[in-house]
Amino acid sequence: MGLIRVIMETQKTALYEYHKSLGAKFVPFAGYQMPVQYTSGIVEEHKLTRTKAGLFDVSHMGQLFIEGSNDLIKELEKIIPIDLQNIKLHQSKYSFLTNESGGIYDDLIITKVEKGFNIILNAACKENDYKLIKEALGNKFKLILNKNLSLIALQGPKSAEILENVIKDVSFLKFMNGNNFFYNNNEIYITRSGYTGEDGFEISLSNKIVEPFVKVLVSKGAQLIGLGARDTLRLEAGLCLYGHDINETTTPIEANLKWAISKRRRKEGGFLGYNKIKSNINGELSRLRVGIKPLGKIIAREGTKIFSQDENEIGSITSGTFGPSVNGSIAMGYVKYDFAKPGTKILLEVRGKKYEAIVNELPFYKKNYVR
C-alpha cells in the first residue's frame, strides 16, 4: 500500500478575526487555529477568570443534537453510562462514551432538551464520536453535528452579573441546568456549567451572531481568555483532559470518575465495557488517577515517571503545570492502587533526578459552583 497523505486545512472558528484583533497567539489544536493566550499572558488570564470573568471560545468542540424520545433513551443508555430515564428537562450531566474494554472514547456533557439530547464533545474526538453514535443508534434517529453553531464559555465569579445584564433571568439557572433564551430575536441555548472550577455559563449560539454577542459581554466586563489558562484552570479544579488524563485505555473507575456513572447503571450495567467496569467497582482495581503535589517548585509534565519511596516505579504523570491560584506546581497521574491515598509520599523523576511529592486530594482549588 502506498503512502496516503491526508492534507487537512486547519479550521477557524467564527471568532478567529476577533481573536486576532485582540493580539491572540494561536496554536493548532485538534485541527483548529485556537488562541492559546492574548497579550496579558496565561497567569494573568487565569487569575482574571478566578476573580472576575473570563470568556473562552470553545467553538471547536462538537455540538451534537439527537432527536428522539423514549426509544432514543433506551439506545443511548447502551453507550452512555448514566440514568437517562430520570434526567430532567434541561438538566446537564457529565459522562463519557465507553468502549468494549471499559476505556473511554470521549468525555462529554449531555443535556436533555425538548426534542431529544444535546451532547458537547471534544474537538479531537467529535467526528469519531459521531460515527460511533450513528453506528450504535442506527438510522432511527436524526443526528446533527451542528457546524453553524459557536460555543462560548463565560467563567468566573462575575459571570452571572455580566450575563444577566445581557440576558434577563439567566442568573436563575442552577449549576448543570440550561434553557432557551433570546438575544435580539435569536434563540440561544445557555447552561450553567463550565470546566474551570468556577461558576459560569456555556452559551451555544449561531456563528452569525457570536461576534457581536461576545463584544457586548466584553463591554460589560468580560475578558477573552486563551486555551493556555483554560488548561491551568481545569487542572487546579482537578478536571480531566481527554487524551491526557483519560483515554481509550483508562476506565472511568481507574480515572476516579465513578461518581459520573449513575447508581442504577453501576448496578444494572447494560452499556459497553460494563464487565470491566463492574470488576473495577468490585475491587479489581490496579491503579487510580490522583492529584500530585510536588514539594518543591519542580514541574512534572505529562510522561514523568512516579516512584515509591523505595524507588519502585508505580505510575506516571498525565498532566502537570504551574497552578497560578495555588501558586505552585500541580499535577495529576495514575499510581498503583496502594499508593493512591492522599498524603502518600512519592518521588517524581524529572530530567534524571528524583524529586519529592505527595499524593494530594483533588481539586487543588476549591470550586465555587452555584447549586
Binding site: 492559546v36 493566550q37 499572558g41 496565561i42 497567569v43 494573568e44 493556555g228 491551568t232 517548585k297 519542580i298 514541574i299 509534565r301 503545570t321 504551574f322 497560578p324 506546581s329 530530567r351
Partner: protein, 126 residues
C-alpha cells in the same frame, strides 16, 4: 565598552574582564510566556559551549538553557529561582541567569551583535 553578544539559542552574554554574565533575551522570554520555574547550573561546575546549563519552564512547556561559551560557573542568580516571573519583566538586566569565568575569549567572536540578532529573530519569526 562591553558589547553584549547574542546566540542563536536566544541567550545574551556580556563580558567584563574574564567574567561573562549570561541570560535569555527579551524575545525568548516573550516566546516562552509566563516563566514559572528555573533550574540553574551548580556553582563551580564547568560548562561547555552549547552545552546544557539549566532549564526554564513556562506555563506552557520546558526549555533547555545552553551556554554560548565555555567556562566555570562562578555565580548563579538565586533571585530568579525564588521568583521566576522576574525573567519576564527584566530578562536582559536584573534577571541574568549565571556568571562564568570564560575559558576562551575567542568563542565570543562566533556570536551575534545586537543588530545581527534582531535580524536573526525577524527572519526566524513566523
Amino acid at each position: 565598552m562591553n558589547e553584549v553578544k547574542f546566540s542563536k539559542e536566544h541567550e545574551w552574554i556580556k563580558l567584563e574582564g574574564d567574567i561573562a554574565t549570561i541570560g535569555i533575551t527579551k524575545h525568548a522570554a516573550e516566546m516562552l510566556g509566563d516563566i514559572v520555574f528555573v533550574e540553574l547550573p551548580e556553582k563551580d561546575s564547568s560548562v561547555d559551549k552549547n552545552g546544557n546549563a539549566g532549564v526554564v519552564e513556562s506555563t506552557k512547556a520546558a526549555s533547555d538553557i545552553f551556554t554560548p561559551v565555555s567556562g566555570q560557573i562562578v555565580e548563579c542568580n538565586q533571585s530568579i529561582v525564588d521568583d521566576p516571573s522576574k525573567i519576564n519583566t527584566d530578562p536582559e538586566n536584573k534577571a541574568w541567569f549565571f556568571k562564568l569565568k570564560i575559558k576562551d575569549k575567542a568563542e565570543m567572536n562566533t556570536l551575534m551583535n545586537k543588530e545581527e540578532y534582531d535580524k536573526f529573530t525577524k527572519e526566524n519569526a513566523s
